[in-house]
């Protein structure tokens, strides 16, 4: 048997290859990016013709996957937790249409917000859509669950959600690969060619079928090998763990083993049979789960009139932030180990724009052009350039969700904040900015939209951008921006005066302006040079 050293993300990708996917669809987002990248770099995937190019956003990814499922093939969709918000329309409705070929939707959550704007828990989306959820607690399980998930998806003709969190996504461990691989499915249309038509008359029936399946999904959870009941002698406490919390629990009983009964829940709906047993057996229950207290809330109930249930809701563990072995030790009443105090001399070292980054030159020109106006009129977006919020730039006033810069600038301009400026990157613009720009054109809004074009999706490591090769001005022209107000700049120190002048002119123009400072990301330039050098050496 082959043993590989894989990130949690990579284990999922290898699992998908071995389970016979024909395509993987995704938009990059930390901590999910490495799943799709693994497939893109896989020789085996290339030989088998597995589709793996980036989608423009999570919604287009989800829909493409649904189409591949319609055609009978297995497919995976990957995104970070907030990406599932973008894909939500397609995702929730896919529970009603159901699947044909198996679909696994992977959502990688980021509790503690290492690289995100919130720490929402994707399990709620699974519950909302009423589909099965899988949540691995280690790399091996992440690999094994994919094959299982596809079988489950095809057994019930239903998409399956797989949820993981940053610490598993970005941690490496040994993974044993299956001896045999599942071949790709043949092209095969749904038995019922109306399965994917959600006309009310059809959707009502499909929804009833989904509801009827809930009891089956729960039974699958009851018999799943990913859910396990471990007997324990000391019944003063019963512990429920979900996902990675299981590891932190065992870390605290490395030598002795856990003395209490433990229910490990890694597949949902919650396996009622086991919960009832634990509840009946133990004096009180402690729920350890990474993310929001979804299991805890379900068991506690609104009336909270049963046995004592401890977890995040009663403060046994703080509500926000990711779990760790020390937090779990505290909740268990064990001594919490501590190291030396952090010396006072230690100061923060926040991330910064790279030396030579084109955004630096764009922000310098913009800041100077805005000097004559009162502060607080720059709406920005998600990407490296969000670092413009920090010193020495202090250049932006918002960062909310993908594409919000343009539409927030429009709303503010509508309210009378003139000039209102949007700063967005090329990847974010094609992801969700174009529709906002169309709103501005239709409404003749007075906004200045700066699209920082570094020809890549930089923050997540330089993935291909949908507007690669300078397509932005064509897109802007196409949706109706006036030719003379599409201004292309070279963000370099030597062009500062010219860039400042152009920005100033467009700030004074009443209507939609688009300014495109264009220069390749320094990280991708360096990478390209290194690759070229290696090529030469060969």
């Amino acid at each position: 048997m082959q043993k590989l050293l894989l990130l949690g993300d990579e284990a999922i990708a290898q699992g998908a290859l071995d389970a016979g996917i024909s395509g993987i669809y995704a938009y990059p987002g930390t901590p999910s990016t490495e799943i799709t990248e693994y497939v893109q770099h896989s020789k085996e995937a290339k030989e088998k013709g597995i589709k793996s190019s980036w989608s423009t956003n999570e919604k287009t990814a989800m829909e493409s996957a649904l189409g591949m499922s319609y055609a009978g093939k297995r497919t995976m969709v990957c995104m970070k937790h907030v990406g599932l918000n973008v894909a939500a329309d397609a995702f929730v409705n896919s529970a009603i249409t159901g699947a044909n070929g198996g679909i696994i939707v992977v959502a990688a959550d980021d509790p503690s917000m290492h690289s995100s704007q919130n720490e929402q828990d994707s399990r709620f989306y699974g519950k909302f859509a009423q589909i099965p959820i899988l949540e691995p607690n280690n790399q091996q399980e992440a690999y094994d669950m994919v094959q299982y998930g596809f079988d489950l998806s095809e057994k019930y003709k239903i998409p399956v959600l797989m949820r993981l969190t940053t610490r598993l996504a970005h941690s490496r461990a040994g993974v044993v690969r299956m001896a045999t691989q599942h071949p790709q499915n043949e092209l095969k249309l749904p038995d019922n060619l109306k399965q994917f038509i959600l006309l009310p008359s059809i959707a009502r029936k499909s929804y009833k079928a989904l509801l009827a399946n809930q009891v089956n999904f729960e039974e699958e959870s009851n018999i799943s090998t990913f859910n396990k009941y471990y007997e324990g002698k000391d019944k003063s406490l019963g512990i429920i763990s979900s996902g990675i919390a299981f590891n932190y629990l065992h870390e605290n009983y490395q030598e002795t083993g856990v003395p209490y009964p433990v229910l490990k829940i890694n597949q949902y709906p919650i396996p009622r049979k086991y919960v009832e047993k634990l509840y009946a057996e133990c004096d009180e229950i402690l729920v350890l789960e990474e993310g929001y207290p979804i299991i805890e809330e379900s068991i506690r109930g609104y009336m909270n009139n049963g046995k004592k249930i401890r977890g995040r809701m009663d403060g046994s563990i703080e509500f926000d932030g990711e779990l760790n072995p020390n937090k779990v030790a505290g909740a268990l009443g064990l001594p919490v180990s501590q190291g030396r105090a952090k010396p006072e001399v230690v100061v923060g070292r926040p991330p910064v724009l790279c030396s030579g980054c084109p955004h630096i030159d764009s922000y310098k020109a913009l800041n100077q052009a805005l000097e004559e106006y009162a502060k607080g009129r720059v709406f920005s977006d998600i990407g490296c350039y969000t670092l413009g919020a920090l010193a020495p730039f202090d250049a932006i006033n918002s960062c909310v969700d993908m594409g919000a810069s343009i539409t927030m600038a429009k709303g503010a301009a509508d309210a009378g904040l003139i000039p209102a400026v949007a700063v967005i990157g090329d990847g974010t613009f094609t992801h969700s900015g174009i529709t906002g720009l169309i709103d501005c054109i239709v409404d003749k809004s007075n906004v200045v939209i700066i699209i920082l074009d570094n020809d890549t999706t930089a923050m997540t490591g330089g993935q291909r951008s949908a507007s690669e090769g300078g397509k932005l001005e064509d897109i802007c022209r196409g949706v109706g921006v006036a030719e003379e107000h599409i201004r292309i700049l070279r963000p370099l120190p030597k062009f500062h005066d010219e860039n400042f002048r152009v920005m100033k002119e467009e700030l004074e123009y009443e209507g939609v302006s688009v300014i495109i400072p264009r220069r390749e990301c320094v990280v991708t330039v360096n990478q390209r040079m290194r690759d070229k050098f290696k090529e030469k050496k060969k």
Partner: protein
């Protein structure tokens, strides 16, 4: 055998290759391993930290509990101090003394080094100077790995083999520079412990 190691530095300083060398050696010895990495936003010149755990027993958590790390290996002195709460009372701190100064309020380096001196078990090494002396400027991180070697409890031969395996593609010169860097770091640490 169990070693819980915190690797720290600034994004782009190459703590990942230190982790890769130790990890490869550990796997060759048939040990279990878990290694968490930092991806995403903080890679852009911010502080980065990685948890590396190796053991002949099953490893449960991907994260090392606070106050339980056997070693902190840092390629930057201020970043070494940032993670002191992770270090066990009898743990060792192995750090570069060369500051990576990309922030406006970087404290005076004497103050930083004075705090490192306060840690009972520590090796403070000017890895950049040593790397320069042996004409292997880009191998200062391997010098630090060398200084950590006496505390790793791994057969030094397996670390050398791991370097050969990982740097082999880059040519014999790179391999030899890194082996030399490893040796220099190790001998520095052995002398300071005498």
């Amino acid at each position: 055998m169990k070693k819980d190691i915190i690797l720290s530095g600034v994004g782009g300083q190459g703590i990942v290759s230190i982790a890769a060398i130790i990890g490869t050696a550990a796997l060759d010895l048939g040990l279990n391993l878990k290694q968490s990495e930092v991806h995403g936003m903080s890679q852009r010149g911010g502080d980065v930290m990685s948890n590396l755990r190796i053991s002949d027993q099953e490893i449960h958590s991907d994260l090392i509990p606070e106050g339980k790390a056997d070693l902190i290996i840092s390629v930057e002195p201020l970043e070494a101090l940032r993670h002191l709460p992770m270090l066990a009372p009898d743990g060792w701190l192995i750090t570069n003394t060369n500051p990576y100064n990309n922030i406006a309020n970087y404290p005076p380096i004497e103050d930083v080094l004075a705090e490192i001196e306060k840690v009972p078990n520590h090796i403070a090494i000017d890895a950049d100077q040593i790397a320069k002396d042996i004409e292997a400027r880009r191998s200062s991180n391997v010098v630090i790995l060398g200084a950590a070697c006496p505390f790793l409890e791994l057969d030094p031969k397996t670390i050398e083999e791991a370097i050969k395996k990982l740097f082999g593609k880059k040519g014999e010169m790179t391999v030899n520079q890194n082996l030399e860097a490893l040796k220099e770091g190790r001998s520095f640490a052995e002398h300071s412990c005498e």
